[in-house]
Symmetry: C3
Subunit: 343 residues, 3 copies
């Protein structure tokens, strides 16, 4: 496996990102996971509770919070910073910019751009991209191979659509977004009127509005609204294979892990987190700062901030079978306890 060549001196990092360099300056090869680090690596410990991992590492360069720095300075070079995790995030971004600089603007000759589409002059448009009539592609956007932007859709400045993202007609995407491969924005919401045993389609006349700085994982889907729009706030982060149904509103800076499903017309606040595989039923309201545990099913509105969970505990299969069977008698057992208490 070819690796990115990421060699830099610690002093270069500190010059770019701040922090205190303690011990000698050295050239490091890469930022490494602590468990597989070698002497030329840079590793980080984000919190004192991981201090015992320091003994495991062979790396001779560390990023540490102040409380851990003293004990390591005898054998290592340290970059000391209050918020290690945030520092590491900025470091990875700095590395990416440094070692994978953006290419010059281009429009691949195979791309199919409608003459009535508007492209900013500095876009990068890959092979077999389709941009339909009246679509608007903002400054410095990058559209990778096979991206489709349908008629009238608007993509904000600096947004990056990875290979084969689809943006449906009239949907609006903010600035500096990153959508991974296979994302589908603006498929029809799932709306049908029952009529004499069949389903009659309700045409989905709304669109999708997505804010700035939104990241969407691979194969994630956000449906267009039935009448109004589905709305995703600024700074929202959704992982892979997430389903957002029509008319949902998601507040700013809310994050959802993989395989989450949010049903129609749910209104989810800002700064929420939803764990992987969780399901939020339709027409519910979640307040700001609600946190739903992985694989939990939200069946009622949650109007107070807090952590909510509903998962059947895992057990070895034999134990589970006994408890699950008894669970079907639970209400009856409660009645028997009541009887016992009376007598």
């Amino acid at each position: 496996l070819k690796e990115l060549d990421l060699s830099v001196y610690l002093s270069e990092i500190v010059l770019a990102l701040g922090g205190d360099l303690r011990g000698e300056d050295r050239c490091i090869d890469r930022l490494a996971p602590i468990e597989s680090s070698t002497p030329n690596d840079l590793v980080f410990i984000s919190h004192p509770r991981f201090a015992k991992q320091l003994k495991l590492t062979k790396a001779e360069a560390l990023i540490l919070p102040p409380v851990l720095a003293d004990q390591m300075m005898d054998r290592c070079s340290c970059i000391v910073t209050q918020d290690v995790y945030y520092y590491v995030a900025r470091l990875t971004q700095w590395w990416r910019r440094r070692f994978e600089p953006a290419t010059a603007p281009f429009v691949h000759p195979s791309a199919c751009i409608h003459p009535d589409a508007q492209l900013a002059p500095d876009v990068r448009i890959g092979p077999f991209v389709v941009v339909e009539a009246n679509a608007v592609i903002g400054a410095a956007c990058q559209l990778d191979a096979h991206v489709v932007v349908e008629r009238g859709a608007v993509i904000g400045a600096g947004t990056h659509l990875r290979a084969r993202v689809t943006i449906g007609a009239r949907c609006v995407v903010g600035s500096r977004c990153l959508f991974h491969s296979g994302v589908v924005i603006g498929a029809d919401g799932f709306g049908f009127a029952p009529h004499q045993g069949t389903w009659v389609k309700i045409e989905q006349l709304g669109a999708v509005q997505i804010g700035d700085d939104v990241e969407l994982g691979a194969n994630t889907c956000i449906d267009r609204g039935a009448l109004g729009d589905t709305k995703i706030g600024n700074g929202v982060k959704l992982d892979n294979l997430v389903q957002i149904a029509h008319n949902v509103h998601i507040g700013d800076h809310t994050a959802m892990a993989g395989c989450v499903g949010v049903a129609g017309s749910a209104v989810i606040g800002a700064h929420c987190t939803v764990g992987g595989g969780a399901v939020v039923l339709g027409h519910l309201t979640l307040a700001d700062h609600v946190h739903v545990s992985a694989a939990s099913v939200v069946t009622r509105s949650l109007l107070k901030p807090g952590q909510y969970t509903g998962v059947f505990p895992l057990d070895d299969n034999a134990a589970w079978e006994k408890n699950a069977a008894t669970l079907k008698q639970l209400h009856a057992l409660r009645e028997r306890i009541k009887q016992l208490e009376k007598s």
Copy 2:
């Protein structure tokens, strides 16, 4: 956000779709969600139990059932109809036809059509579409950008495949279907024979048969059968990110919400509904008119119509932890109750 310009007179709507117009005729801008409506909007109340919402709306045009019409006629124009929801569905369809008329037939010059494929003369084929040998594309079909129809597949009249739908070799799709972006029909079913600690592939020699008037959501997958075919009935509606495994049969007019998984060889009746995130295990039978609640796991055949549920109730995390821990002792608790009853 550019909106569809949907201005029409109420009298035009009634002329096209029926219903009684009461009060003065007026021009409305759009069909609006009741909570965000403005005076020039048309809103609807589908059922008397939503009557109190009428006070919230600023709209001066309403679609209502007869029992609600009298109380609103003093301040609004009303279209009165028995089945409001069905009326609204037809209205959205009428609007779509009126404001987004179908384009003339065309085959985009970039499309890659095998000379042995059969295309009806009035198809619309978008850029970078691939149609392989012996595929048949019926009258008035629309294949959007990047659609792939593999060899020998058959697409019925009037079917619309959105951007980058894939139809596998020898699969058959009925008439008037709508498949959203990213749908994959006819990937191999998940079939392997265990052999000395490894998995030996069972080639999937069947195909997929899909009826008429089927709608499939974005990134939904239907696998080909192992020996026979996977079969989807007429009028079936599947939402986004649904997984239908090999050899499954789904009866007519059954609907499944997002993120449902149906395992191999399950046989699901007609007129069933499956809520979002539910799982149906393999080789089970579900009778007609079975309704599975969202996120429930169907572990046995359901031979009687009805509503079935199995979801761990959501709670605040601290309460959940206590109850989940106790759940692991549930069978033992039952024994203790028995002992108490004896003594």
Copy 3:
């Protein structure tokens, strides 16, 4: 529906694959599911516990284990073999090779191959495929329509990427793999540092390493590692719509059914199975030979082989409501039992 014409004599099968032919040789049309078989079909019974199904079949040719052969030989021709299911797997492979022979190598003229990419001379490259700079496509690979292989990615010999698979930059795929349509390898892992109420992206600098003989279902996603690589062992089989997060390691010959989600940094052993819709939380370890039941949620490491389950039992909705409500008092009920025991 056009079927594959699969006519062969039983003696041809036995010549190619071994087994004992008992009874007269005959020409059969196809391998059929036992429940829909006709006289000219070949059907199989893999295990004596399915023996009663033999009465249902009209087929006059059977593949059977030795213990079942004697009772059927009076009316049928039998191929007798110890491991029927494995024999059938090999038969389906033999049939596929025989009736759908590989086409000659080609590179479709519409494909967009970077001059610095390396293609083995005998590859088959479909329309609108994109292969970026420094990518390596091994001997006898097949890349179907719309596949994208990004810069520096390596595809091993004999691997088949179905329509619109995406392989991200620097990812490495082994030999003889089969990835179905819509697979996304190497999207960014879901990594963000919280900072003042927003999420700061941690650039994902790792890649994905996939072993030999791996099969991935439609629309399945495997994210690239944050610092190190996400690693998938040899012989791993993942069904459709599976999500594998960054830094996960999956051991050799582990199989996962549809809609499974594995969270970041989980380490899953060899020869494990994970049932459909199950969720494995992050940073957990699963030993070799761990088997997780469908729709179960793994919330702790499982260091002993065995079958593990955690699913709320399905019930009719009314019964479920009563038991679920009582479940919220379960801990309190336990206290009441304790009280009763004391008194």
